[in-house]
Symmetry: C2
Subunit: 111 residues, 2 copies
């Protein structure tokens, strides 16, 4: 087993092009022996955003705190504490902090 606080994991800047004000902590990964999926915790600063992009794997997201939007090709949706998002493979999307506090969320991906 692994038991840790999220604050025990060092955060790192997300340095992708077209990302702004985004930090990531990899909470559980293959390094811990996780067989199937990887749990990450993101923080987006006010005004920050993740890249508007697409990839072949899904995201399962749970918003912990803050206010934001998730933007898809057709539509955007509001995000707040307790919002759940499934981004399917190949769906274009990004996450944007539209509030005045950090936007914190978990985002699990397949290994």
């Amino acid at each position: 087993m692994i038991v840790r606080k999220y604050t025990d994991v060092k955060d790192e800047d997300v340095k992708m092009e077209e990302a702004s004000g985004v930090k990531k902590r990899i909470l559980i990964s293959e390094i811990d022996g996780a067989p199937n999926f990887i749990m990450r915790r993101f923080t987006i600063e006010p005004g920050g955003y993740t890249p508007y992009h697409t990839h072949s794997w899904e995201h399962e997201v749970y918003v912990l705190s803050g206010n934001g939007q998730v933007r898809f090709a057709e539509k955007s949706y509001e995000l707040g504490a307790g919002t759940v998002v499934l981004v399917l493979p190949d769906e274009e999307h990004n996450f944007v902090n539209i509030g005045s506090e950090p936007l914190d969320f978990l985002c699990t991906i397949p290994r």
Copy 2:
């Protein structure tokens, strides 16, 4: 995509033998088209607990609020908001609420 609040999902009593005071919401599952893993949100009432059991799949857990313990064969660990737990396949474990408020956590499993 799917975007919803966790409160949009009906909670259901966990009726397993040796569970007490446990409710579950299945936030994202294969019904939503999730390819690989299922996100659930549990609430354990004060004094409640999940069964002390084992199974062939892993859990990836993130504690949202409350105070509890996760108990393994060798050792128990304290849980609070922001605690992360990886339960590996075939590890005996249970979750116990030792606080005076509900213990809320996410628990993701493979599909």
